[in-house]
């Protein structure tokens, strides 16, 4: 018999890793069986690969002006046609996609982080709760596009300001979702036990409450990403978002509106990409909700 490692302990460790593996495998299987999550994530992966490969292997610039070839219909040379200045639309849609997705993604990440912090602390400290939730009530009372327009109007139309505007508009809902699930968990016996053991509030909040708020949180993140893409497109379409000549899906649509009588491709192609990305994220979010939350799963069936 070995002296250093007791056999029972080794078994427990092995079983633990075994169980972890098994649980992961089960999750993968359930994920693959969930049609919504599968379709949604495939659309997203396709879009990401499409944008990044086109960016890598494309030789035409989205800003290169060619006045001789203004408003050409889609052809083998210009797959999506050309715009008012003869710029290649395919290249603009791909670069614009990068800009739109990057703006949406950064806004989503910042919203997620700040929303988590606000939601957690509001659920834990009564005093903070009153202040933070009244501010959230106030922000939620604004029609979202209107507030975003006002913010970008004040700060100026720049991509970074679009990110700020989307973040301000989306944080209240995020914070509320984290807060409401954290409030439930805060009342559980094991949190009481932690407090009795003398765990610091930081430890209780971040190591024990936060991980248990994750499933509605993750679903909300996909929702925020989808609406961030729509908001960015709307703002840029109104001229309050990503400024020309830098392309984004929204401001290509704005250019397209001007020539809508004779260039259908200018609205069609960026439009398809916006719809695809929002659709992909929504489907993915719905699928995740079913996967992570057994209750809604039952309700849907």
């Amino acid at each position: 018999m070995g002296v250093n490692v007791p056999i029972e302990n080794r078994d427990i460790l092995q079983t633990k890793t075994q169980l972890k593996k098994e649980r992961f495998r089960l999750f993968v299987r359930r994920f693959l069986n969930n049609r919504l999550a599968l379709i949604g994530s495939s659309i997203m992966i396709f879009l990401l690969l499409f944008v990044s490969f086109s960016l890598l292997f494309m030789n035409s610039s989205p800003l290169e002006i060619d006045p001789a070839n203004r408003l050409h219909a889609p052809s083998s040379e210009h797959w999506f046609g050309t715009d008012t200045f003869g710029r290649d639309l395919f290249s603009r849609v791909v670069h614009g996609g990068f800009v739109s997705l990057a703006v949406g993604f950064s806004a989503t990440i910042i919203t997620a982080i700040i929303g988590m912090i606000i939601g957690l602390y509001a659920s834990y400290y009564k005093f903070l709760d009153h202040i933070l939730m009244r501010i959230c009530d106030g922000l939620l009372a604004f029609p979202d596009v209107l507030l975003a327009i006002a913010i970008t109007a004040v700060l100026g139309p720049r991509p970074i300001n679009v990110v700020i505007a989307i973040t301000v508009v989306k944080i209240p809902t995020m914070a509320r979702i984290v807060r409401s699930s954290a409030l439930v968990i805060k009342e559980q016996t094991y949190i009481e036990a932690l407090k009795a053991q003398g765990a610091s509030s930081w430890r209780t909040l971040w190591m024990h409450i936060a991980p248990n708020t994750l499933s509605p949180y993750i679903v909300q993140i996909t929702n925020v990403f989808a609406s961030a893409i729509i908001l960015e497109a709307g703002l840029s379409f109104l001229g309050a978002g990503v400024p020309a000549p830098e392309p984004s899906w929204g401001n290509i649509l704005y250019d397209g509106k001007v020539v809508i009588f004779n260039a259908w491709w200018m609205t069609f192609f960026p439009g398809v990409f916006i719809v695809l990305s929002v659709l992909g994220l929504n489907l993915f979010g719905d699928g995740l909700r079913d996967l992570l939350d057994p209750h809604t799963n039952k309700a849907n069936k």
């Binding site: 009244r134 604004f142 979202d144 507030l147 809508i260 659709l279």
Partner: protein, 317 residues
């Protein structure tokens, strides 16, 4: 009942206060001096100083806020410099198209969505249900301004059934008005429809699995009566909540949709004021939009009592 509404209305006071503080400081922390923007680059420093004095910009910020806020309480939202009229007048002049657009879009969405949701719930799991849900999913993914552009291309340019853009007020005939409003209202209504279809379906499914519906079947009621009288009434509470909550996004969507179709509504007012740096108009318009959104939600809350006797009873106590 009265006590409930009173507390409900009083609870709006802090929200409105926060909203007005936010709107005010958002505009006033702007880099750049509104006075010199309004006067243009040729203005002398003396002229700028005079206008600053006139606009009250030299007062400390809290005093400016106090004056603005007491103005609001008196119903005075300020003066539009670019249009040379009061902000309230400018707002109400532009309200017509936006209101008409929002009402039509909401109408279209209710007429389309509730039957679709009920049918989907009734035929749950079938091809019909699935296709309704796919359409709803697509509807959620299309921003209203994009749908507006696509509709414009199809009905305005290809088929030439409807005018491409522009606005005719109701006073020049109902049909003329509707002809210009139908495409924007469709564009705006589709997202709303998608949201309501999903809500109707899921709350109908919830209600249909309850015991009292089983009882209704057991005592031999006709299916139509069960669905439309017993189930829909209970499901309608959730549906009305969604109608109220999405009203804010309806206003916001209307603002963007208006610019697609060149409707002279609130959206155009805001965008023009931003271009001309007419900050009092931006402030006032946003504040009024928020107030109307809160008012709609208040009305929705009151409707609960009318629809659901349980709410009515519990509020009496």
């Amino acid at each position: 009942m009265k006590g409930y509404f009173l507390t409900r209305i009083l609870s709006l006071v802090p929200v409105l206060l926060i909203v007005s503080v936010f709107v005010f400081f958002l505009i006033h922390l702007t880099p750049g001096d509104p006075a010199s923007v309004i006067l243009g680059p040729q203005a002398t420093p003396e002229e700028v100083e005079q206008l600053r004095e006139q606009m009250g910009l030299n007062l400390p910020l809290y005093q400016q806020f106090f004056e603005w806020f007491t103005g609001i309480l008196r119903g005075d939202l300020g003066w539009s410099i670019s249009q040379n009229k009061s902000v309230i007048n400018a707002f109400f002049e532009h309200l017509g198209p936006t209101l008409s657009l929002a009402v039509l879009a909401q109408g279209i969405s209710i007429v389309l969505a509730i039957p679709m949701g009920i049918i989907a719930a009734k035929k749950r799991g079938t091809k019909i249900d699935q296709s309704v849900m796919v359409v709803a999913m697509l509807g959620l993914a299309i921003p209203s301004f994009l749908l507006g552009l696509l509709l414009m291309q199809l009905f305005g340019i290809k088929l030439q059934w409807l005018p491409v853009a522009g606005y005719e007020p109701l006073s020049s005939g109902l049909w003329e008005h509707l002809k210009h409003m139908i495409m924007p209202a469709m564009a705006l209504g589709v997202i709303q429809t998608a949201v309501i279809v999903r809500m109707t379906r899921s709350s109908m499914l919830d209600v249909l699995s309850t015991n009292y519906i089983k009882t209704a079947y057991a005592k031999g009621l006709k299916e139509r009566i069960i669905y439309y009288k017993h189930a829909l009434r209970n499901a309608s509470i959730a549906i009305i909540t969604v109608l109220g909550e999405t009203f804010g996004s309806l206003i916001a969507g209307a603002v963007v949709t208006e610019t697609v179709f060149n409707l002279p509504g609130i959206g155009q007012l805001v965008m023009n004021s931003i271009l001309r740096r007419d900050y009092e108009v931006i402030q006032g318009t946003i504040l009024l939009a928020v107030v109307s959104y809160l008012a709609v939600n208040l009305v929705v809350d009151m409707l609960y009592g009318v629809i659901d006797p349980r709410v009515r009873m519990s509020r009496k106590g």
